[in-house]
C-alpha cells in the first residue's frame, strides 16, 4: 500500500504518493495473492529465513537440556510473522527457540521488548511487551489473521519508545 502524505492547506489540489519501498515490479503487478518477495523485503529477512530453516531441519534434541526442533507448521507461522514485520519496515527481530518446539520472535528497541511467541500445535500467538525493568506492560493472544491488531500493537510499541 502506498503512503499518502497530505499537507493542508496546500496550494494546489494535489497529494504526494510515495510508492511502497519495493521494486517497481510489485507496484505494477496485477497479482492478487499477497507474497513477500525476498528481493523486495527488509535486508534481514533472507538471513533470518536461513536460521529458521536450520532450526527446522537441524534443530537439536539436547538430552538433559531440551528439544529445540521446530515443526514445519511452527516455522510457517513464524515466517508469516517475519513477512509481516518485513512489510512494516521493522528492524530485525531476534529468533529465540525454546525447549518443546516453540519459538519467540523478539523486537528490541532500547531497553524495551515486544515478544511474539509461537507454540507448537497452537494457532494463537502470545505477545508480551516489557518495559526497561523487564516488567510486563501489555500481553495477550492473537491469531495471525488478525493483522490489524498486530499492526496496532507494533505501532503502540514504537510510539512508546518515541515518548
Amino acid at each position: 500500500m502506498s503512503t499518502l502524505l497530505a499537507n493542508w492547506p496546500c496550494s494546489a489540489a494535489s497529494i504526494k504518493v510515495q510508492p511502497q519501498r519495493t521494486t517497481s515490479g510489485e507496484v505494477r503487478s496485477s497479482q492478487l495473492e499477497r507474497v513477500v518477495r525476498c528481493s523486495d523485503s527488509a535486508p534481514w529477512l533472507p538471513s533470518l529465513l536461513f536460521h529458521l530453516k536450520l532450526l527446522e531441519t537441524s534443530g537439536r534434541n539436547v538430552p538433559g537440556i531440551g528439544d529445540f526442533r521446530i515443526t514445519e507448521t511452527t516455522a510457517n507461522q513464524v515466517r508469516r510473522l517475519l513477512a509481516f514485520f518485513s512489510e512494516q519496515n521493522l528492524p530485525a527481530p531476534r529468533l529465540a527457540p525454546f525447549s518443546g518446539g516453540g519459538l519467540a520472535l523478539i523486537l528490541e528497541i532500547g531497553d524495551q521488548e515486544l515478544t511474539f511467541t509461537v507454540y507448537p500445535n497452537q494457532n494463537d500467538i502470545v505477545y508480551l511487551q516489557t518495559d526497561e525493568n523487564d516488567e510486563p506492560v501489555n500481553d495477550g493472544t492473537l491469531t495471525l489473521d488478525q493483522t490489524r491488531p498486530i499492526s496496532d500493537l507494533i505501532t503502540a510499541f514504537l510510539f512508546s519508545q518515541a515518548r
Partner: protein, 264 residues
Amino acid sequence: MSPHKQGQVRLHFDNPPVTETSIGFYFQKIEGWNLLHQGVLWERFRAKYPVLEILPPILDVAPQTKLHLDLTSPIMRTGFSNREKTQLVQIQDGLLLHNWRKTTESPEYHRYAETRQQLHEDWNTFWGYLRQNSLKDPAVSRCEVSYFNHFVRNEDWKDFSELSDIFTVWKALPQSSSYGTVHMAGFNVFYQLDSGVANIAVQPAIRSSDGKEIIQFTLTSSALPQSSEEGELFRCLDECHENARRVFVDFTTEKVRERWKQTR
C-alpha cells in the same frame, strides 16, 4: 528448429503450478472518468461479481520516488469478484484485467479459453457503460497475459540447488573452493519475441496466507495491438497467450513439465 516453433504449443498438465492468471488491457486514461463512474460501473457487474475488493493502484509508469496525483481524479483499483473469489475483474482508470485465482475450495485450473471468455464479457460491459455515458472508447496501449506459478518448498523442491531441474536458464554451480551453498536465488529475464515481450521473474518469497516458502515464477507476456478494435484486441491477446506458452516451454525443463503432467 525446436518443435514448439513449428506450430502452436500444446501444453496440458494435470497438476499445473499456476495459482493465478491475469489477462486484459492497459489503455490511456479516459477523459471524464472519475471514481463515481467506478462505483456506478460495479452495478453493471454486481449480479455476477457481488464481492468488492479495494486494491492498491497499479502504477504503470517508470519508477519514481514521488508521484503527484491530481486530487480531483485520484486513482483507485477495484476488484469485483464472484462469491467463490475465483474470478475477479480489476478496474482502474487505465486498465481492465480479468483474474482467475486458485483457492483451497476451488483448486481446479481455469484454462485460458475460459478466462478469455470472461474477459470478453467484462470488456463488453465496460465498453457499453462508456458508450451509454458518452465517454470515449478506450485507446488500448498494451495487451497482457500473466501467469503466477508457485513452487512450494518441501512439496515441489527442497533446496535451491534444484533450480536447475526446473529452469533451463539456471545452471547449477560447480564445486567451489569456498564450499558455499546457494541459500537463495532468483532472476529476471526480459525476452523479446517477434510479436511482443515476455518478462520472466523467478523470486524466492513467503506466501502471506500460509507462511510457506515458495519460489514464485511469474511469466508476463505483452504486446501492442494495432488498433483498439475489439477483434484486434483479442487477436493480440491470443498472441500474448501463445507467446507465453512458447516462453514457458523455453524456460522450464522437460523433467519438471513431466512432473506437472502427473496427477497428485
